[in-house]
């Protein structure tokens, strides 16, 4: 077990900059999820930590030791690959025992350890099979077992569940969480599935275009997005954004005046999550365009001064397309962003009375 310290890591592929000065620290035993869209640099960062790729700049330390120059085998890591990479010419037993055999551990000891991890992942009865005789889910378990068998200081996983069907994914997610909580291994887990990220992570590091834009526990990332991108990337349906124009101490958004808005030099943008809206006497008045029932809730899309605006409302509220609906932010949930940089500005904490236009 060990902590990870990544400082100012940058990576260029020719003229393409895949990573820009990434900083990330992971505490001993912590489970950090790298979350980001396709091409945001998640795999690249993971491979740099593993030593499969060399950083153009910056340093990586594992357990307080600089590992930049070390080959993968000297870093105390184990990795689970997106396509599993189970060795096809070896049995499941030999696959799981591969890392142990490389350490010249006695056969009896290997046997004991392989059986223990195989038990943890419920694959004892598969030990004699070859990877060609396994289903995708079983192969995935073998890949995780193989990585856990060497008892690595750091476990790196690159979208290990992405090839599974939805149901199996849910099941494996819960199981993985159990196994990893038990082993208390420092883990970095890559995914582009935000639900997976929220359910597994101690901390989520959101990546965007080669940068970590926010690294925080899931509720904080959700409720206090550091940038406009994080707000729109996390949460489904995404956060609503509206342009705001300053008026004295406050700002006017879609015809409504907020009396307090954070002071800043640049232009303002207003953000609110669809589930943080409620019907009110005064607020944003828009024409309802579409109503979609979502089980316990309904997703209402409305036209607000020419912008699409979404709200998740209780099912018992009767809303019909064509009606005019007035919605107000729940207390303390409105967010302000710098319109140019997208950076989050100070929050409005007290309930915000909305003054009609």
């Amino acid at each position: 077990m060990a902590d990870i310290d990544i400082r100012q890591v940058a990576k260029r592929f020719g003229s393409h900059q895949a990573l820009h000065a990434v900083d990330l620290t992971v505490a001993d035993g912590e489970f950090v999820v790298l979350l980001g869209a396709s091409g945001s640099g998640k795999t690249t960062l993971l491979r740099i930590i593993a030593g499969l790729e060399t950083a153009s700049e910056g340093t990586v330390s594992i357990g307080g030791r600089r590992v930049d120059g070390l080959p993968p085998r000297r870093r105390g890591i184990a990795m689970v690959f997106q396509n599993y990479a189970v060795f096809p010419h070896m049995t499941v037993f030999d696959n799981i025992g591969f890392g142990l055999a490389m350490q010249k551990i006695p056969a009896a000891e290997i046997e004991r350890k392989v059986r223990r991890v195989a038990g943890m992942l419920h694959i004892e009865e598969l030990l004699k099979r070859y990877s060609g005789q396994l289903s995708g889910g079983q192969r995935q378990r073998v890949a995780v077992a193989r990585a856990l068998a060497v008892e690595p200081a750091v476990l790196l996983m690159d979208e290990p569940l992405s090839n599974l069907d939805a149901l199996l994914r849910l099941e494996m997610r819960a199981e993985l969480k159990g196994v990893l909580q038990e082993s208390r291994t420092t883990t970095i887990y890559v995914t582009h599935d935000q639900v997976e990220a929220m359910s597994l992570a101690d901390r989520i590091a959101v990546m965007h275009e080669g940068r970590i834009v926010q690294a925080a526990p899931a509720p904080e990332v959700y409720h206090h997005p550091a940038t406009r991108f994080v707000g729109s990337f996390i949460g489904n349906p995404p956060m609503n954004f509206l342009p705001a124009s300053r008026e004295g101490q406050g700002a006017r958004v879609a015809g409504h005046l907020f009396r307090h808005a954070p002071a800043s030099d640049g232009a303002l943008a207003f953000g609110i999550r669809p589930e943080d809206l409620a019907p009110a006497g005064e607020g944003f008045a828009g024409r309802v365009k579409v109503v979609e029932p979502l089980g316990p809730h309904q997703l209402v899309t409305m036209d607000l001064a020419g912008h699409l605006f979404r709200a998740v409302l209780d099912n018992d509220l009767a809303v019909r397309p064509g009606e005019t609906l007035v919605l107000a932010p729940r207390p303390g949930r409105a967010r302000w962003f710098d319109a140019d940089s997208g950076a989050s500005l100070a929050e409005i904490t007290q309930p915000e009375p909305v003054t009609g236009a």
Binding site: G51, L52, A78, A85, F87, M102, V150
Partner: protein
Amino acid sequence: MTSLATTEAEASARAEPRSSGRLVMASAVIVLVAWVLVPIYLLVVNALGSVAAVTAWPKALVPEFDLASLAFFANYAGVPRALLNSFLVAGLTMVLSIGLGAPAGYALARFRFPGANLFRLAVLMTRAFPLPLLALPLTVLFIRVGLDDTIIGLALVHTTLAMPFAVLIMASLFMSIPEELEEAAWTLGCSRLSAFRKVVLPLALPGIAAAGIFAFVISWNEVFAAAVLTIENKTLTAFLLQSLDVSPLPLKFAGGAVLIVPALLFLFAVRKYLFSLWGIANR
């Protein structure tokens, strides 16, 4: 009923061009197969037939099993020696082609380096260079360095002939082995070398063997360089070429049969890799 009848008629009308296409395809296949098989059949019948049967016509459908021709061939002066030379040269060519071709193929498959495509092209272009043009300077050079009329000298020439195929077969072979398997081995405690030995090599072995047999057969069948560069140490092909005019018919057929057998065995062994090399799905 009528609508059913029309749809049936339509269906058969639509099937018509396809079935005639199949007919053309089938006859083309039959012609090609006959093109290859008939000479082989005649060769085998004559080689296995009695000495008298060689000139007989029509040929027996089922060949006799009279080994007289082959025995005669085997005892013909110089044949055992030439056969041994052919084996030695081809064996050496195989070893050299694998030894040099495997690393080159691995590099082409795994590393991106400037000039990789040029290298790939250059490897093929060596085959475009006519050997007859090289023969004289090569002979002079070989005499100077003392490689003339030696097994090693001829094997070197054959290796340059076999190398393009060996390199390209092995490059496509290594490309077909996912890089992640190697990377997984590195993270589990392997160096580049031990990962190659424990993961890549076992998976590549059948293909490497195929490339090796390919090199063997290219050398085995090669006539020109063998005839020009050797005098005492003639390989079987060069020997047959030299004694073709003066040798009796049974000897020619027996020699021909001995020459094609390794080629046929080889093709059978490597058909899977040849297909995958040209992008044709296997099975």
